[in-house]
Symmetry: C2
Amino acid sequence: MISVALMGHGVVGSGVAEILYTHKQKLFAAIGEEIDLKHILDLREFPDSPFADRFTKDFNVIADDIEVRVVVETMGGLHPAYEFVKECLSRGKSVVTSNKELVAAYGAELLSIASQQSANFLFEASVGGGIPIIRPINQCLVANNVSEIAGILNGTTNFILTKMFYEGMGFDEALKLAQELGYAERNPEADVEGHDACRKICILASLAFGKHIYPDAVHTEGITKITAADVAYAESWGGVIKLIGSVKKLGRDCIDIIVAPMFVPSHSQLSSIDDVFNGIMVRGDCTGDVVFYGKGAGKLPTASAVVADVVDCIKHLKTRKYLSWADSDNSSVLPYEQSVRAMYVRGVADDAAAAYDEAKAVFGEIHRLSRENAPQGELAFITEPMEFRCFEKRLAEVKSLKAESVIRIGDL
Amino acid sequence: MISVALMGHGVVGSGVAEILYTHKQKLFAAIGEEIDLKHILDLREFPDSPFADRFTKDFNVIADDIEVRVVVETMGGLHPAYEFVKECLSRGKSVVTSNKELVAAYGAELLSIASQQSANFLFEASVGGGIPIIRPINQCLVANNVSEIAGILNGTTNFILTKMFYEGMGFDEALKLAQELGYAERNPEADVEGHDACRKICILASLAFGKHIYPDAVHTEGITKITAADVAYAESWGGVIKLIGSVKKLGRDCIDIIVAPMFVPSHSQLSSIDDVFNGIMVRGDCTGDVVFYGKGAGKLPTASAVVADVVDCIKHLKTRKYLSWADSDNSSVLPYEQSVRAMYVRGVADDAAAAYDEAKAVFGEIHRLSRENAPQGELAFITEPMEFRCFEKRLAEVKSLKAESVIRIGDL
């Protein structure tokens, strides 16, 4: 019997407890031993839980229990999750977490402590919910040099963009629906401003490239400024708008990483990932493109990924999983102004035809887009790929056009 | 330094040698030790290989070398691959293979020998080429009860069906193109008759349900009878035709497994998997649907999956990976005549309207399909879901219709 402790009995944590209870037999068959959920740390009471007698409000009950070999952290937030996880690892306990904020902020340090203690620190559930992605990148694609990862990493924004695309909703209306359905929080900022997606692409980038990339080094744009007109232009261009987290390796010590809405061509596998689903493309030099698709959030999908990590920890109580990356000062991150992409521009002018001619004179080759019922004076076009700083400078030179929207073209 | 041997320097085997050579540094970083490719078994000579001095024609050089801890089998075919793998495992060496025929025929026995010898027998590359699928099912989804797996498991047939769908080619023309491009072999039977897909779905079924399912127990249909007319009707229905390997768990000891062309609705993630790509959907009770997409074949994608298994074996020289299934007598396989699906029928009649009325009288509710330029007397329709034996009996009762094509409707 292996003793496990759980910190945080919220949505994901209660799902972990539920799966440990309902899937007991399957887990026993996989491990050859029984998992004993010995302690659950939560300030609340859960008298109806089958583990009602296991609750504690005192973290030290877990930290001091030498029988507890694996601790699950599903509290969320940075504090006290960070302090608790650090203490557990320092005492040689393996830790499994679903907390992307924690991994994105302190991953390098916590992995390092785990390594010193011959313990494991696993976080499959922190990216893509129930979609296997951390282990596939770390194990299955180990014989590849990964050159790029791009993904739809946030289900809330993908739901909103899907409603805007297929049902013609505006952003506010789609957000309201997402909130009513429980897909968006009352304060939706972390989702709609791209912060959640940013943490996830940072974790994937750190894993694939071996150096911790901190979220504050990553240029992050949300979807709040996307309009129905942009969605219509994306469709006429031959694609959709998705919030993409992308990281590309440009050289030995230079990566291009960004979170932003992008035009995604309809031939890309990512274009057909709709509603609350997530999809992640990993480009390896041997495999080519591999895409992982599924539910990126939710109680049981996320909890099942946590439990899979618990199983892996139990199987590796004596040997360490080789999952780690070095700390870094973010110096390998390319300034986003130097990132090269084709750009979509939508704006208004007194005379759209004259503005088009001016834009063409400034940008060189551009591809004009059209849509039904475009108001008088509206102009939309796609530029050739160029550095973002160069794009911004040129756009300012197109004096007759008042730009209202600027969106990157994803080369996916 | 860890000594590894390779048996078979063909397409995949030479790819394994290439990756061990070109990705040496990355592999060293992952393992912490160097991999020494000590012996390569092949009857041919490869003087230009960086491993030219490692070739041998004598299997016993590998079997007798106690330094060799991991053996890669990329010979293909059943014999002598089976005898060699068995001998290596019996001597406590771990074995990695890409040979789906071998795993589908002898997996249970070889896993059992590996277990007795505390060695590992891994075969990620046997299904889905470079797409991670075996390890995700076995590890990442361990906290799920898998109820269904369905996939496009053969790139050759998917290429042919894609050309038939998007470019209006006939089967023969598309096959010829596939052969010219090197996607199909001169004798394409194993691909186009579904045998290759059958071996793969057997491996996935055995893994997910814990009992060896042998290919001869699985009803298998190929794509040679699919016509342009069928493709057009699938489009008018709202989908595409794909060769699907499918396995569903119906009860504690009953699975419904089949390989056959199926109508796949366009809202399914599998419908947009085109050309030589593979895609596999795994339905778990916690995760919901998870889909894996990528190149299902080819030298480097497949070889990179083999090398990832080699790395895993090296990391687990002392501990065993828990990957195994029991042998079985196929008694849990539902007879395909009892499998329930909606069916597509295309046929000809002297009077299509009268035949439609007769079909409706026999089948009850049916959904008639139309296509452009359908010849006089052609009738196509979709039935409600029913057992296949019931469908066949009823179809024979529609006397005024000469059925020319019958295809299952995938509930994907």
